[in-house]
């Protein structure tokens, strides 16, 4: 287990001079847990993640890492504790998996600390953990979407973060690879205790994989807590304007949102004609 680092915000405001996206948001990220930020499009969830990862400077309030304003800590030192995987990261043409993952070591190196055997071991361990070790010499552009995303996760793991922020890590992946990536993140969290904060689109997957949900709407937090405690039809209606049932997931028992919608295709009956 890592020593526990804390990440929190106090009265955080993010946005642009003419357009404030998040206003006075205060939250503690639970350490050593998986937190998913969910909410409708344009609710400010990616903006919050960019703020938490110091990519976006607050217009007011603070992001606190271990109780210190993150802007006052040297950005390289922040990077040894906290790492970020942007939504659609871009790799240079032809870069190999091992080379990409190796660049995750950047914050740990410096003038007097160049590449060492320890770096090789950490890069290898990250590739093994994400199952890309056999692809080490392959070029990133030759990989499938799921493999590529695992290589990028290996890159941020090589950074040895204790807090890992991911912006929609499952975007553009098919369902198999979405599960693969989320299972992988769960492994990392359960085995090393890495605090994970991710923006997720899929409410059901968020309920299944997150210990803790942050539900946002219009730049503010509506509610935060364990999915089983907070996800109700009323919450989904008030946040997503969607009528739904909330049932226990048949596999995990976590809440599942079943939208009601206006049209329901009849289910084929025993006569196999497709008509009821």
């Amino acid at each position: 287990m890592n020593a526990t680092h804390s990440l929190s915000t106090t009265n955080l405001a993010l946005g642009y001079p003419d357009r404030r996206i998040i206003d006075s948001l205060t939250i503690d990220i639970p350490p050593n847990q998986i937190t998913a930020i969910v909410g409708p499009n344009a609710c400010g969830k990616s903006t919050l993640l960019r703020g938490l990862s110091r990519l976006l400077a607050p217009t007011a309030g603070q992001v606190l890492l271990d109780g210190r304003d993150i802007r006052t800590i040297r950005t390289r030192d922040v990077a040894t504790v906290l790492s970020l995987l942007p939504q659609t990261p871009q790799a240079p043409d032809g870069i190999s998996v091992a080379d990409l993952v190796g660049r995750g070591r950047y914050p740990h190196q410096g003038w007097f600390r160049t590449w060492s055997a320890e770096d090789d071991a950490i890069v290898d361990a990250a590739m093994v953990a994400t199952g890309v070790q056999d692809l080490a010499a392959r070029s990133i552009d030759e990989l499938s979407g799921g493999q590529r995303q695992r290589a990028w996760i290996a890159m941020v793991l090589a950074q040895n973060p204790e807090i890992l922020l991911l912006d929609e890590p499952t975007t553009y992946l098919d369902i198999t690879h979405q599960i693969e990536v989320l299972d992988l993140l769960m492994d990392v969290n359960r085995q090393v205790g890495t605090t994970i904060v991710m923006v997720l689109h899929d409410l059901n997957l968020a309920c299944r994989y997150a210990d803790n949900l942050i539900v946002m709407r219009a730049g503010a937090i509506v509610v935060a807590g364990a999915p089983v405690d907070i996800v109700t039809p009323e919450l989904v209606r008030s946040v997503f304007d969607l009528d739904c049932l909330v049932l226990p997931d048949a596999v995990s028992g976590t809440p599942t949102v079943v939208p009601i919608g206006r049209h329901h295709r009849p289910i084929a009956r025993d006569d196999n004609t497709g008509t009821p």
Partner: protein, 351 residues
């Protein structure tokens, strides 16, 4: 990481194997290019109006030739060859740094207005103020840095966008070529003649006196750039990833671009705005290395080889006339640019 069972980690880390392979590859390419540059240089020493034998050249190089061969080799051919190498390295490195930092294969100093601004400064200095030699070099370097700073500011809105910088640069390049034409048409015919040769790019005025200060400038800038090599590799992964990895984005990018601008200006002040060498070198280096990564040093080698070859073609391909070197780099480079544009629009990597 402590996550994994140690038995699953192979004895020799895959990371180490991959790193060794990469290093071998770049070393191999560097050696190959060095051999090519030396070979081109050797041929260039032999070619020229005064027909010299290899033994004439060798004895002249050893300082034991006749005064005539000593002059031809020592004062004419050798400085010209070395100038081509230094200018080629500057252009190659500058182009590769721009392309890699701005993450755009078209973003080389000759496309985005850096060499164009340098040529405006140079032409005005030559035609209007009659400046030449080291003074010209300093004026061009200073003027180009100022122009680049202006472009950087124009492209700034809540931070620097590489794409905006490319667009601003294209506009500036167009504007500059207009200004150059205006100055040339308004000036005295002899000044215009000289200005025109310079604007096309030429190594005709090479000499030790011109080369030494330029080589010193280039050496200092390259050394400064070498200290930024590691953050540069991380910047290649895009702004958000680089910031997440702890690179102070604006400061690092500003320093790197300033160094690349200065290198381009050094090259232009010496040999005029030779077209396309900067654009092509980085791309060729990438393909030679074929391992990702900018290959900035390799691009310098490629630039030197390209410029040496282009200068030889310009001087000797037509028995009756010697062309300015820039004519050759332009003729060869333009189709390359077109190919790059077509490829970029096909793969969608142009923006």
């Amino acid at each position: 990481m402590t996550t994994t069972n140690p038995t699953t980690v192979p004895a020799v880390p895959a990371s180490l194997v991959a790193r060794r392979a990469r290093r071998r590859r770049s070393l191999g390419v560097a050696v190959g290019l060095t051999v090519l540059i030396v070979a081109l240089g050797a041929v260039a020493l032999l070619l020229g109006k005064a027909s010299l034998t290899p033994s004439d050249v060798l004895s002249a190089l050893a300082g034991q030739g006749t005064p005539m061969t000593g002059f031809v080799i020592g004062e004419l051919r050798l400085p010209r060859i070395l100038t081509a190498v230094v200018v080629g390295v500057c252009l190659g490195v500058s182009g590769s740094v721009f392309q890699s930092t701005l993450r755009n294969p078209l973003a080389s100093p000759d496309i985005i207005g850096i060499t164009a601004s340098a040529s405006v400064v140079g032409v005005v200095a030559i035609v209007v103020f009659g400046i030449s030699g080291l003074g010209l070099a300093l004026v061009v370097i200073t003027g180009t840095l100022v122009a680049a700073a202006g472009m950087y500011l124009l492209a700034w809105r809540d931070g620097m966008s590489a794409y905006r910088l490319v667009l601003v640069g294209l506009g500036v390049a167009a504007l500059c070529s207009g200004v150059v034409s205006y100055v040339l048409t308004r000036s005295d015919i002899r000044d215009a003649q000289m200005g025109l040769v310079w604007v096309t790019g030429s190594l005709n005025n090479s000499s030790w006196a011109a080369l030494l200060p330029v080589a010193a400038c280039a050496g200092i800038i390259l050394a400064a750039l070498a200290t930024l090599a590691r953050p540069l590799l991380v910047l290649e992964l895009g702004d958000a990833t680089a910031a997440g990895l702890g690179v102070p984005l604006e400061r690092t990018r500003l320093l790197i671009i300033a160094a690349a601008v200065a290198l381009a200006a050094v090259a232009v002040s010496t040999a005029g705005p030779l077209a396309f060498v900067a654009l092509a070198s980085g791309q060729i280096a990438r393909r030679l290395l074929n391992t990702g990564g900018a290959g900035i040093a390799i691009s310098g080698f490629v630039g030197a080889a390209l410029l040496l070859a282009a200068d030889m073609i310009a001087q000797f391909a037509w028995p009756t006339t010697a062309f300015p070197t820039g004519v050759v780099t332009g003729l060869v480079g333009a189709p390359f640019l077109i190919w790059l544009l077509i490829r970029a629009s096909r793969t969608g990597t142009g923006s």
